[in-house]
Symmetry: C2
Subunit: 227 residues, 2 copies
DNA sequence: CCAAAAGTGTTAGGATTACACCCATGG
DNA sequence: CCATGGGTGTAATCCTAACACTTTTGG
């Protein structure tokens, strides 16, 4: 019998901080690619679900929890791991980085956020996985309100604008964007936010997940492609 | 050491015949679920890519080749196979059934097309996989011209209309549909089709893949959601 | 009082929808 | 000649896109 194919999971974890999209990476402390940066992940154990494996690895290697998780794609080309045949189910996760401390406390090697436009070289085929995830993120931003998982619970409308602008990579019209986004009725206005910076204080908004799910039931489709 | 997770592929193969969407199934001739219907598929061997495994299994079990193949989703819940932990990468395939004979010649058990609205009970979690694939097919029909992979090379416009109507499950406006679809410029009109049935003969069209790919390069997006 | 950010409406143009009659053939 | 399916245009409506000034605060 030839040896068995190994099954792993990898997580592409996006965060949003300093008005830039960030990616969570760990520095490998074992061969191959020792010392290089890679996606958090690892082998799936026999009794756990794939999602459980992702969450476990993330906890172990980086100490963070996640706001949004979905399966991305399964990468299985022979040769993607130089030693063995490893098939990896990649997951796509969104996090508000302010919500979690990166744990230096764990036994993992360094975990660190990198702005997406300045990524280091990555181990294995992880650059390809990240590219795929970015494509998915950009596409999904326009037809599901997942961007809200990258923000704090309460946020300024301008935060949301800037998030879309920085991830999609083009200028959006503030007036049209606000009109359209608010027309969905999935944001509730809370208090007004004072101080911090110069300029007129703005209203704080919060994503009303209940209302979003209720609307989805009725066939409503979030769609902000035409901004 | 606990035993290793097994890796398999399964294929959800859709065809279109008798003006209905059809699904390709095989009858299992080994336990578990012996005698029941299931998706074609099987274990991935150590050196082959996932796609190669799918195509090999399809050839072995049903004798058909495929017009379109993409990865669908990876199903990995513990317990989905009653004996072992099997993680299965499901693929989504489109075929023109007239193009291939189902091979009784192979050593596989029966392979057979079933209309999607009259599927038998399926082994494992295959009903769930099929449901997922149907969702993907319906969604994709509207923003990629994949429906054309289900038709013969030359087809009547009414075939295309009926395909969309039967898969999406609602009436479409003939005039608007034709106007919009032709406006993309990815179909070329060939000859006029005489005979076969009563009524005025219609023009035959052919999908111009070259032109479609060229257009895609330029940022053109196929989009027929608003029909 | 100045700089910075928040907030807000209107209009022209383009896209979508709804809709009905004539044409060409086979039987 | 009639039944069947193929082929076509227009008008009303809705949605999108473009655009600039006023308000409120901190410094």
């Amino acid at each position: 019998m030839t040896s068995a194919i190994r099954l792993a999971v990898d997580a592409v974890v996006f965060g949003y901080a300093d008005q830039r999209l960030q990616l969570l990476l760990i520095r490998r402390n074992i061969p191959p690619f020792e010392g290089e940066w890679a996606l958090p992940g690892g082998q799936v154990s026999y009794e756990e679900s794939l999602e459980a494996a992702v969450e476990r690895e993330l906890k172990e290697e980086t100490g963070i929890g996640i706001n949004y998780l979905e399966q991305l794609y399964t990468f299985g080309q022979p040769g993607r791991d130089p030693r063995n045949r490893v098939v990896s189910v990649a997951y796509f996760a969104l996090v508000n980085p302010h919500q979690f401390e990166l744990a230096a406390a764990t036994d993992a090697a360094d975990a660190q956020w990198f702005p997406c436009e300045k990524l280091p070289a990555l181990a294995f085929d992880h650059a390809q996985i990240v590219a795929y995830a970015l494509k998915r993120l950009r596409a999904k931003l326009s037809y599901e309100p997942i961007g809200l998982n990258l923000l704090e619970r309460d946020f300024l409308f301008s935060d949301l604008e800037k998030l879309y602008e920085s991830i999609l990579g083009w200028k959006i019209d503030r007036r049209n964007f606000r009109k359209k986004f608010l027309s969905f009725g999935i944001l509730t206005e809370t208090t007004v936010h004072h101080s911090g910076h110069k300029g007129r204080p703005g209203a704080l908004f919060r994503f009303d997940v209940e209302k979003y799910l209720a609307l989805k039931e009725t066939g409503f489709l979030f769609d902000i492609r035409t901004i």
